[in-house]
Subunit: 105 residues, 2 copies
C-alpha cells in the first residue's frame, strides 16, 4: 500500500537540497506539530547521517540501503519501509529515482 | 515578502523530476481543489513549456528568465513573481538554486 498523498499539512516552500541535488526534499508539518519530509533520491550512491531516528517509506521507485554496522544491502521498493536509528548513518544506492516519505522519531 | 509556508494542503508524495533532476517539484492541492507546486531549479539553463498559464513565485535563491518571443533576460529573486502565458515556453538560467511556487491558471 503506497501513500500517494498526505492531507492537512503545511509545506515549507524552500526545498532541502543535498549532495548537489542528488537528494531533494520538502518539509511538511502536521496540525499537531509533527514534522516529516517528502523527497526523492536520484541515481547515486550516498551516505546519510541521522540525528533523530528515521523511518524511510518508499512511495515510488526503489533503492538498496545498508545500515551502519551491517554488510547487507537490502532492497526497498514502493510500499516498503525501513528504520534507521538516531545518531547513526546509512548508505543508499539508487538506480531509478527513489521517492520517499521520511518520518522522524 | 516571501511565502515560507503554505498551510492546509494535501501534498503528492511522488516528486516530479524534470531534466535529469535539474528541476524537482512536489504537487500540492488546496481544500478547494486548486493545484500548485513547490519546487527547485538547480544550476542549469533550461527551457520549460507551459500548458496552462503559470505564475512563478520565487521563495529563495534567484534565476534569470526569458519569455518566448522576447530577447531580455530578467532577474527574479525571493519575493518576485513572473507570469508565463499558456501554451508558451520560457528559458530559465540558474546559478544558485531557484526555489519557487508555481501557481497555475
Amino acid at each position: 500500500m503506497t501513500t500517494e498523498k498526505i492531507d492537512g499539512v503545511s509545506v515549507t516552500t524552500q526545498a532541502n537540497v543535498y549532495f548537489d541535488g542528488k537528494c531533494v526534499s520538502h518539509g511538511i508539518t502536521f496540525a499537531d506539530g509533527t514534522k516529516k519530509s517528502v523527497g526523492v533520491v536520484l541515481p547515486a550512491t550516498l551516505t546519510f547521517n541521522t540525528g533523530a531516528p528515521e523511518i524511510m517509506e518508499c512511495v515510488a521507485g526503489s533503492c538498496e540501503y545498508k545500515l551502519d554496522g551491517t554488510d547487507a544491502w537490502v532492497k526497498s521498493a514502493a510500499g516498503d519501509k525501513f528504520s534507521v536509528p538516531g545518531n547513526s548513518k546509512f548508505d543508499i544506492r539508487v538506480t531509478e529515482a527513489y521517492h520517499y516519505i521520511c518520518h522522524f522519531g
